[in-house]
Each structure stands twice: as structure tokens, then as C-alpha cells.
């Protein structure tokens, strides 16, 4: 250490860091137009410069891939020709390279439409455009059968013409709702703007204002940091996630009763006896990190249940005492208390988020 004291070393290190920081900011400013350009594709690549871990995992989640362009989607490439028959109509989804076509025929006539948008991971539905009108494809791809079947929710439709057989014609507001949930920046001034959308749920979708934050942060300004969603109450988190996953209110107003509502998790969770709008231990993000793929292993949730039902319960539950611990098992809580429920069409299975003591033979509640 001759000639250099420890403090000198520290000082040199600080100077080097400062130079590096200034250089980084300068580089960042020079690159900003390019980043902004790239944002049209995925803004998370820009966010990754600071939020590397989350930006690395989130785009791979089902939410991050909630909408994909045909060329980006492996499902159709793996199944280059899918067919399905219903009544007099035959549906075909054919893929050649990056192009997919959705067709329906009654034997005499055929309507073929290009697929531009794949909605959903796992099960997949196609958003179609015909003569200026938008349609939800009458059939969807279901991994459980590795093939096509009627789109969930359209089971009751009985098309009487080839035109009707294409799919459910969307009402004026619906395309905005579809893209509003499955894409980012698809809605500007409450109008659908397909030119500006980014496929899937990206940073900006949930963290409104992250684009401005990106610019400000490059200049060392952090006043425009988007609100920290972790600070929302459980009730507000449910309503936030429920904008797409459906809130309790939406399901009640729509009168969606029975197993069809099992896929609306915020509704099911709010019906749970243990739901408390101010207790962070029962919020969506207490169990799920939206930046990570959903965890499928039952035992991994035990700690979340035990946060309330363990011996050392949280003091906030002291008013009614700690909730009872399970007399049956000490692990895999969700395997009994959050059963798997099939949709009435039998094609998809969801975890029921109405946490409860399930009694044998009891009908599906609510």
C-alpha cells in the first residue's frame, strides 16, 4: 500500500465510480432515442438497465406473453394444422412459417382470415378482423386436448350462418378491453391504438408512468418514480389485479355464478372467510410475484398459509385470536383448501382461490 493510504484508495474508487456513473448517464442519454425506439417492441429491455432481475423473468411469464404475434408463438408452429368440427362447420387453423390462417367452412363456402393476434398462453384464442368488424374466434386452442374446441364463454352460441360461425362479434368497447389486458399501450385516450401497442403485459402496463420515469432517471431525477404497488392494501391490490382477472364487483354485477367464475381469482379470494382488505398476508402479491412464473408446487405456499395459521400468528389477527391451525395436515395446505376446479367445458382447470374448509360432496360455492 506504499504511497496510497486506504482512504486514498477509497477516494480513487469513489472518483472512478462517479466517472463511470457520469459516463453511464451520458451513454444512456445518447442511447435514449434508440431505447425509446426499442420501447415500441419491449420497454422492459430499457427498464432492465436498473431492474435487471425482474426484467429478465417477467417477459417469460404467462402475463408477459398474454398476447403474441403469430411468428413469436411456438404453439401454432408445433401444430401447423388444427381442425375442429361443430355442427355443419369445420374450423381449420393452418400455419406456414410465421403466417397463420383461421378458416371456417360449411362445405360449400369458406371464410379465411389471417391471424394477427394470439391471445393467451396455454389456451389460445384469436382476435380476428373482418370487413372492419372485430371477432373473437369461435374456437380456441386448448393444451389439455392439444387441439381446438369452442372458445370458453362462447359455448352457448349457435351460429346459423357461415358469417356467424366465424366467431363472436365484439361490441364496440370490447377490443379495447381485450387489448387493454393482453397488451401494453394498446389504449390511448380511451381509444384502441393498435399501432402503439406492445404485445403482452410489460412494465408500463402495471407501472404507469414508467416511461417518464425512464427519461427522468437518466437525468438523475427520481421524483416521477411510479407508485410502489406493494404499498396498496389487499383490497386495492385485488381491485388492481382484478382489472383484468376480474374484481369481485364485476363478477357480482355480471351474475357469473358457478364453476365458470373459478378463473376470476380476486372474486374468489374476496369470498374467502379469511379475506381482510387491510391484511397484507392475504393479498394477491403475498403469494404471487407477478414478475415470476406462477409456482405450481403446492408445498411452496405453505409458508403463506402459516403466516396466519401458524402458532406465531401476526399481531393484526390478535383481535379474533390466531386462526385455527389445520387438524389434518401441516403441509400442502392448498391441495385441500384451494381445490382444483375444471371449467364446465372440461377443457381448463383452475385453482379455486376461495380459501375454505372443503366438505366432501358440497356444491361449488357461489
Amino acid at each position: 500500500m506504499s504511497g496510497y493510504s486506504a482512504s486514498n484508495l477509497q477516494k480513487m474508487k469513489r472518483i472512478r465510480l462517479r466517472v463511470l456513473k457520469i459516463f453511464s448517464i451520458a451513454l444512456f442519454c445518447v442511447m435514449l432515442p434508440a431505447i425509446a425506439q426499442t420501447r415500441q417492441n419491449r420497454s422492459d429491455s430499457a427498464c432492465a438497465s436498473c431492474h435487471a432481475a425482474r426484467s429478465a423473468t417477467q417477459p417469460k411469464t404467462p402475463m408477459g406473453r398474454a398476447l403474441e404475434l403469430p411468428g413469436d408463438d411456438p404453439t401454432l408452429k408445433e401444430h401447423p394444422k388444427l381442425t375442429f368440427h361443430r355442427g355443419p362447420y369445420t374450423y381449420t387453423v393452418e400455419t406456414h412459417g410465421d403466417k397463420s390462417t383461421y378458416s371456417v367452412t360449411d362445405g360449400a363456402h369458406t371464410i379465411s382470415l389471417p391471424i394477427h393476434w394470439n391471445f393467451g398462453q396455454g389456451a389460445q384464442t384469436w382476435f380476428l378482423e373482418r370487413d372492419g368488424d372485430y371477432f373473437e374466434s369461435m374456437v380456441s386452442y386448448y393444451p389439455s386436448i392439444a387441439g381446438l374446441d369452442i372458445t370458453t364463454g362462447d359455448d352457448s352460441l349457435s351460429p346459423t350462418t357461415l358469417d356467424e360461425a366465424v366467431g363472436r362479434k365484439l361490441q364496440k368497447h370490447e377490443p379495447k378491453d381485450c387489448f387493454g389486458c393482453h397488451a401494453t399501450n394498446a389504449v390511448a385516450n380511451e381509444k384502441l391504438d393498435l399501432a402503439s401497442l406492445q404485445p403482452g403485459v410489460t412494465c408500463e402496463h402495471c407501472h404507469k408512468g414508467s416511461s417518464a420515469h425512464l427519461v427522468d432517471a437518466s437525468q438523475g431525477e427520481y421524483g416521477s418514480t411510479p407508485p410502489d404497488l406493494r404499498k396498496l392494501s389487499s383490497e386495492d391490490i385485488s381491485n388492481f389485479c382484478g382489472q383484468c382477472h376480474r374484481t369481485w364487483d364485476m363478477v357480482i354485477r355480471s351474475h357469473w355464478r358457478g364453476p365458470i367464475n373459478v378463473r376470476f381469482q380476486p372474486y374468489r379470494l374476496a369470498n374467502s372467510k379469511c379475506f381482510d382488505g387491510t391484511d397484507p398476508r392475504i393479498s394477491c402479491i403475498a403469494c404471487h410475484d407477478p414478475h415470476q412464473d406462477v409456482v405450481r408446487q403446492d408445498s411452496s405456499y405453505d409458508g403463506k398459509c402459516m403466516a396466519c395459521h401458524g402458532v406465531s400468528g401476526h399481531p393484526s389477527s390478535a383481535s379474533s385470536g390466531n386462526p385455527a391451525a389445520c387438524p389434518v395436515a401441516k403441509s400442502n395446505c392448498v391441495s385441500c383448501h384451494m381445490p382444483k376446479v375444471k371449467l364446465p367445458n372440461g377443457l381448463m382447470t383452475f385453482t379455486d382461490h376461495q380459501i375454505r374448509v372443503v366438505k366432501p360432496g358440497e356444491p361449488y360455492p357461489n
Binding site: 391471445f119 393467451g120 384464442t125 373473437e136 372458445t151 370458453t152 364463454g153 359455448d155 352457448s156 363472436r168 361490441q171 364496440k172 368497447h173 381485450c178 380511451e190 392494501s233 383490497e235 386495492d236 381491485n239 382489472q243 369481485w248 364487483d249 357480482i252 354485477r253 355480471s254 351474475h255 357469473w256 355464478r257 358457478g258 365458470i260 367464475n261 378463473r263 376470476f264 374476496a270 369470498n271 372467510k273 379475506f275 381482510d276 382488505g277 387491510t278 391484511d279 364446465p344 357461489n366
Partner: protein
């Protein structure tokens, strides 16, 4: 509106009956009697004479004979039924009402008789009882045929309008628009509900009939699904009556479920014409809430409550706006007022559940949620879009 307007108009509106056939149809087809009770011997001859007179459309004689018969045997239900329905057919509404009351005392759940008594009460001006009876009759199956349903829904809608339940009335007219032929009398009823005027057609000043008929015509076509024709008719209405209250509100109200942006434009136009129009402000407040803009909703909601504090919707929208702008405690008070005014209001219970949840009142929130589930348990929709 004279005699022809009252009973027959209801029927003629829907093109259902010919006046000459009306009594026989009414008695034998529309509201068939229940099985007879055991009659004492001696009055069989009277019954057969009454029946013959009725079949020959000799209504005065039939009425007289049925009166004698029920005097002899007051527990004979069919006698009261025939007497009441024939009196109704001859515009003797008060006696008809009383005869039907005797019949209903014997058969308390006879939906058609209760509904027919409601129609009598409509004609005698007993509007509160009339609405009660028509609704109870409908609940007990009086709308057993499309034509009966049309007659009863039309009268129910008129009475709901008179009670200021304009939205409920429009809902009834919406059902009628799918099954009924267009008619100026029907249009006027729709127009009164649509322009939020708590009057019966006969109470409208002659100079205003045109306004209500034009408004109703446009609304009827919209509800029947002919939106293109409706758009033109609304434009004609706006041109003919540029300052009439609630015309733009009505168009916006109908557009709202399908085209909320255009609806908002119409509500704002309404406020330009009538700045104190609480209904238009209320819809703008709702729209802001739906679009997740509770701060904007709060401004409209405060305006609505200042103008119409006794309007449940006003208290509800202010309560919700307060809860959603972070003042759940203040919101509770207004939601409570909304429920005092309308205890079964689902939206108020939904908002209360949310407010309690925000405040950490877990048990209260759960109670409200269970109540909402109970209130909606019979309205199951098995289709849920993705």
C-alpha cells in the same frame, strides 16, 4: 282520452283484440276461470242463463244474472270472476274491482284476477294499488300469454313512469319493443319515461304530446335494434325541440351500454341545455367511476347530491366516489343514505362491502358481500367471456 282510449287502447296498441270480441275473449280466453266450487242446488238455472247471455254478448243481462247468482251464493268464485271481468269490459271499473276482490278473497294467488283488478284500479285512478296489483299479478303468472304480457307491461311502465321510476319503465318498454308493433300511444308512454316526466299520457298538455311522441318514437326504434333509424329520429327531435329537457340525456342513456364515448357527448350536450340536470350529471359521474377516474366522478357526484339529495343514485355515486378517492369513512355515510332510500340497492351494498374492506372492518365487509350474493342468487349468468 275517453272510454275508447282506456281499456281498448291497451289492447289495440298491441293489435290484439277486436272490440266486438273483447268480452268473450276476456272472459273465456284471456283470463280463464278456475274450477268452480260446489254450488247449492236452485241457482243452476240462473247460472245457465247468465252463461247463455254472456255467450250471446248480451253483457248487461249477463252482468245482472251474475249479480243475482253471487248474491245467492257469495262463495261461488266463477260468478265473481265473470261478473268482474264483464264489468271491466263494459267500463264499470269500480264494481269490477270489487267483484274481483271477492274472487281474490276466495283465490288469493290468482295472478290473472289480481292483474285484472290492477287494470281496473288504473282506470279508477288508484295508481298505487294498481301498480302493486299488476306487479303481483305478473309475479303470479298473469303474463301467461304474450298479449297479456304486453297489456300488463305497458300499464306497469305507465305507472312506473308516474312514480318517477323512469329507468324501470324504460326497461319494460325495452321488452315491449321486441314484441310490439309501433304505435303513437306506446311512443308517448316511452317518451314520458325517456324524458323523465312523471305523468300519464292523459295528464300531458296537448301542446306537449308531439314532443313525447317524437322522443318515444326515436327511443322505441333504438330499443328495437334499429339504431340507424333511431339516430335520424333523434336528430329530428333535437332540431324540432332544441331546448327540450332530457332529449340528449335520453339518447345518451340508450347509447351508454354500447357507445359510452358518444353517450358522454350527449350527456354533456344535455348539461349545456339544462345545467342543473341531475340525471345527466349522475351518468357522467358513473361514467367517470367506470373509467377509474373517481376524482372526476366526485365533482359530478357532489353536484348531483346538491341538486337531488333524496335521489338514491345521487347518494350512491357520491359514496362510491368518496370511497374510491380514499375517504371511505365519509363514503360510508352517503352509502348508508342510499340504502335508507333504497334498501335492496345492489350497487350500494357492493360499494359498502368495498368501503368496509378498505377500513379493515372485515366482518362488516363479509356481511355485505354475502348479502350481495344473496341478492343476486337468482340471476345466474352461465356465460362469462374470456
Amino acid at each position: 282520452m275517453g272510454k275508447l282510449h282506456h281499456l281498448p287502447s291497451a289492447f289495440l296498441i298491441f293489435g290484439l283484440f277486436y272490440t266486438a270480441l273483447l268480452p268473450a275473449i276476456l272472459v273465456n280466453v284471456v283470463f280463464p276461470p278456475t274450477a268452480s266450487a260446489q254450488e247449492p242446488s236452485g241457482f243452476d238455472e240462473l247460472v245457465s242463463q247468465a252463461s247463455a247471455a254472456r255467450e250471446q254478448n248480451n253483457l248487461p243481462q249477463a252482468i245482472d244474472l251474475y249479480k243475482q247468482a253471487v248474491a245467492l251464493n257469495p262463495k261461488w268464485p266463477d260468478g265473481w270472476w265473470f261478473l268482474g271481468s264483464l264489468q271491466y269490459a263494459t267500463d264499470a271499473y269500480a264494481p269490477a274491482r270489487d267483484a274481483l276482490t271477492h274472487y281474490i278473497e276466495i283465490n288469493p294467488n290468482a295472478g290473472p284476477a289480481i292483474a285484472l283488478r290492477g287494470l281496473c284500479e288504473f282506470e279508477t285512478g288508484e295508481y298505487v294499488q294498481s301498480l302493486q296489483d299488476i306487479q303481483r299479478g305478473l309475479a303470479l303468472g298473469a303474463a301467461n300469454r304474450p298479449r297479456n304480457a304486453g297489456i300488463l307491461q305497458y300499464h306497469e311502465a305507465l305507472l312506473l313512469t308516474r312514480n318517477g321510476k323512469f329507468g324501470d319503465a324504460l326497461q319494460e318498454y325495452g321488452l315491449l319493443s321486441k314484441t310490439s308493433a309501433s304505435n303513437p300511444d306506446l311512443f308517448e308512454g316511452v317518451g314520458l319515461a325517456g324524458l323523465r316526466t312523471a305523468l300519464l299520457p292523459k295528464e300531458v298538455e296537448a301542446s306537449r304530446h308531439e314532443l313525447f311522441v317524437m322522443a318515444g318514437d326515436a327511443a322505441f326504434h333504438f330499443m328495437a335494434g334499429d339504431e340507424k333509424a333511431a339516430q335520424q329520429k333523434f336528430q329530428d327531435l333535437f332540431q324540432r325541440f332544441p331546448t327540450a329537457a332530457n332529449t340528449h340525456y335520453l339518447y345518451g342513456y340508450l347509447l351508454f351500454p354500447k357507445d359510452p364515448d358518444q353517450a358522454v357527448t350527449e350527456f354533456k350536450r344535455e348539461l349545456e341545455i339544462a345545467p342543473s340536470n341531475a340525471a345527466a350529471s349522475l351518468m357522467l359521474a358513473w361514467n367517470s367511476l367506470i373509467r377509474n377516474n373517481p376524482s372526476e366522478a366526485l365533482v359530478y357526484a357532489q353536484k348531483v347530491v346538491a341538486e337531488e339529495p333524496a335521489f338514491p343514485g345521487a347518494q350512491l355515486v357520491l359514496g362510491r366516489s368518496l370511497v374510491e378517492t380514499g375517504d371511505a369513512q365519509a363514503g360510508l355515510a352517503h352509502l348508508g343514505k342510499a340504502l335508507q332510500l333504497e334498501p335492496q340497492n345492489l350497487e350500494a351494498h357492493i360499494a359498502l362491502a368495498k368501503a368496509y374492506s378498505e377500513l379493515g372492518r372485515k366482518q362488516d365487509a363479509r356481511r355485505e358481500r354475502l348479502l350481495c350474493l344473496e341478492l343476486t342468487k337468482n340471476e345466474t349468468n352461465q356465460v362469462a367471456s374470456p
